[in-house]
Symmetry: C2
Subunit: 297 residues, 2 copies
């Protein structure tokens, strides 16, 4: 489950609630494309902006819509109490795994984060993926802490943040981490723009925002990785550079992905939780242009 392409769909919503029909279509599209897993309620799924009840509903609808494809559900929250409730709801919904980031408001210590994972793992009957995303959680994992947490038997994967552009530097980073974690715990790359580099550097999985909208194109890249075709990974990934440039210029992947979903009719406007907004005006035109340029329209 924690190898190959893990596709992360948006959770289309407005201020009243989740757009259930659109969510179902997004998940069905991923399942039909044959992704290896579907990661709902990741950062792309705006998990932290939803109520516990809404999150339980997203988990339930996603599992129902994913056919035989495993669904991994994000359970992160500021408070351990809420993480435990989300974990229980995800498991009740039939999630095959859970994803947990150390979401913070007050900066967390290493021991607090370790205790969080230990407490949550004790309550789990499905595997957990550690979600390392300092850009949103503002928590920096040391490799040593990853090593400690990965000893917990429920931990089956680590979703690492973007690696260096340089493949040899990225490989050294992946290998350093690999030495500290048990065999069988996979390492997956997030940060679409360097996913190609991450896969060439030995990552087992791509936790992918791009794959949540364009699963076939993303599967071509993970397929190349599974065949060991380094050149093809690089070619396919670098061809998407105009899209990665949008991520860089618009504060990350979320607003770009949500704008793409609106443009392609996968989500109706608005689809992000306020105060977040999709791109408008000239910025939106630029996204439309890239979409056509890349033949993704």
């Amino acid at each position: 489950m924690f190898t190959g392409l893990s596709a992360f769909p948006l959770t289309p919503m407005n201020e009243k609630g989740i757009k259930e029909r659109e969510l179902i279509c997004l998940v069905e599209h991923l399942a039909n494309a044959g992704v290896d897993s579907i990661g709902v309620l990741g950062s792309t799924g705006s998990y932290v902006y939803l109520s516990q009840e809404e999150r339980a509903r997203v988990a339930q609808l996603s599992v129902e819509s994913a056919a035989s494809v495993p669904v991994v559900v994000g359970i992160g929250a500021l408070r351990t109490r809420d993480v435990l409730a989300n974990a229980e709801n995800a498991q009740k919904a039939g999630a095959s795994g859970v994803l947990l980031a150390p979401v913070s408001y007050q900066k967390l210590t290493d021991n607090e984060v370790f205790d969080l994972y230990e407490t949550v793992c004790r309550s789990l009957s499905v595997p957990l993926c550690v979600y390392d995303n300092p850009g949103t959680t503002h928590f920096e994992f040391s490799d040593e802490l990853h090593g400690r947490i990965a000893q917990l038997s429920q931990v089956h994967s680590i979703k690492i943040p973007p690696v260096a552009d340089e493949v040899e530097v990225a490989r050294a980073r992946v290998e350093r981490l690999r030495k500290l974690i048990p065999d069988g715990v996979t390492i997956g790359i997030s940060g679409d723009a360097v996913a190609g580099v991450g896969l060439r550097a030995g990552c087992d999985a791509w936790y992918s925002v791009f794959g949540g909208l364009f699963p076939r194109q993303a599967l071509a890249i993970t397929g190349a990785a599974q065949k060991g075709d380094m050149q093809l990974i690089q070619t396919l990934s670098e061809a998407l550079e105009p899209l990665w440039a949008l991520y860089r210029d618009y504060g990350g992947s979320l607003r770009v992905a949500a704008t793409l979903a609106e443009i392609t009719g996968k989500a109706s406007q608005p689809c992000l939780p306020q105060p977040l907004k999709t791109l408008q005006g000239d910025d939106r035109k630029r996204v439309e242009h890239v979409l056509e340029q890349l033949g993704l329209a």
Copy 2:
């Protein structure tokens, strides 16, 4: 209301809920001491860790316990929808004002933050204090954005993050901001360690964690400021240096304040929301020592 000492109490809690009796005692203690306002559900009050219902209850209990002292209630949340609900609940509870930080998970743009304040101000019948706390919100206000937001008629104060140690540098910063905001919008300093410098640099208020536990000692400092006794502010504030050193060494004020509350019997252990923990072992002994050294025990 947004001048002098605004004291920020903890919200004592465990994993089951709020410790109402302890909260009431904290608020009564502040009211009896004669603070100028009480800021509940600030960062020190762990607002983001509580449910909407718990926050409404804290607001209600605080207003009931504060006698004639104005209560300012923190209404920040990741989502505009939830901020609006918190604002309504705070007003229903009888809050005299509200405090709003641009809490983020996805990094916010200036326009998103402006729209948030504009939307919330439209729904308010009480004054609002803009809460600028980049250490927890990870949003950096420009002075220009402060200027735009401060034009909204409900905005009556700005709670600024720590200023430079050097009083002339701090004064220049306060004066730069002052030029961009309407007359009558006050500027308050947070960051206890530099509050003395902030007051000497012309801040109108001290938004104080220390004052939430030791209001009389904090009132001595704001009293000196109101009399223009710069030397006394400096002397009193610098005398507390061993406490400020604890803040620096333990990742900010919250864990130290919560540990102090436990040690002095103002809160029973545990009092912070998991995964946050108060200081234990040698770290706790160090806090006890400082408490005795400063005569605060």
